[in-house]
């Protein structure tokens, strides 16, 4: 990793990864749930920056809109409507936490080994499309029509189901 030339892309990648990883670590280590949501919003915005770095500017806007906006607000609603005052009151499961940490670290070790070992075929990075929103729209309405329509059905069903579930029992 250290023989990468010091280009602007590398510097941007480094700064964004510091934001993302520190946000994620803070999310795991904070005690209050609200602080967790705020640090997770930092992670989402960092990932949007990564998308810009990868020439996916439409996806970066979608990421900011959906994740940093909608999902964070939804989670804050969920926190406000449930009990959140006794934040991580008792910490009585050290063996469970140690086991989970060992499992996550082992998974990371396996993944890192696989990434290091694999020879990725070197190809030219995709040349910049002029307007990625236009190209994605064309792709959505030609090759991916059926999944696109299915996603709209899924969204409708999920939101109606969410309203029905969260509605107070009318008795």
């Amino acid at each position: 990793m250290f023989n990468v030339p010091l280009t602007g892309e590398f510097v941007a990648f480094f700064v964004l990864s510091v934001i993302i990883i520190s946000g994620a670590v803070l999310m795991v280590s904070f005690a209050k749930v609200i602080h967790m949501v705020v640090s997770l919003a930092a992670v989402f915005i960092g990932i949007a920056g990564m998308f810009i770095l990868l020439n996916a500017d439409f996806l970066a806007f979608v990421q900011v809109l959906i994740y940093a906006g909608a999902v964070s607000i939804l989670m804050i609603f969920g926190i406000m409507m449930t009990k959140h005052q006794d934040a991580e009151a008792e910490k009585g499961r050290p063996s469970h936490e140690a086991l989970a940490a060992v499992g996550a670290l082992a998974l990371f070790g396996i993944l890192f080994y696989a990434i290091r070992q694999t020879e990725f075929p070197v190809s030219q990075p995709a040349q910049l499309v002029e307007d990625s929103a236009l190209e994605i729209g064309k792709l959505l309405f030609t090759g991916y029509v059926v999944p696109f329509e299915l996603v709209s059905v899924v969204l409708t069903v999920a939101f109606i189901g969410a309203i029905v579930l969260a509605k107070k029992e009318a008795d």
Partner: protein, 100 residues
């Protein structure tokens, strides 16, 4: 450059996995799942630029993932609120009806 993105996504996924396994508050478990989904999205977009066959399909798949995870978050929060009304708690280790 591709392996850097993949390593970052692996770190993110493992932090999310740890959070989903350890945290007791169900909202935080949902947040950790969102973290894991974001790691997957990062992989998809990285492959759509630096993969063996660079194409826009990775970005389209990312759009689908984002849509489905938004639906999942909405339904998850709704289930959580309904459970909180019924049981008065959001700790995942107290939802144990199916064990008895």
């Amino acid at each position: 450059m591709l392996s850097s993105y993949l390593t970052l996504a692996a770190i993110l996924f493992c932090i999310g996995l740890y959070g989903a396994l350890v945290k007791r508050n169900a909202v935080v478990v949902l947040l950790s799942i969102e973290l894991m989904l974001n790691a997957v999205n990062l992989n998809l977009v990285a492959f759509s630029k630096y993969g063996a066959v660079p194409a826009l399909s990775g970005q389209v798949f990312t759009l689908f993932t984002i849509a489905v995870s938004a639906a999942e978050a909405a339904v998850g929060i709704a289930v959580l609120i309904a459970l909180f009304r019924a049981r008065g708690t959001v700790n995942v280790d107290e939802f144990d009806e199916m064990r008895r």
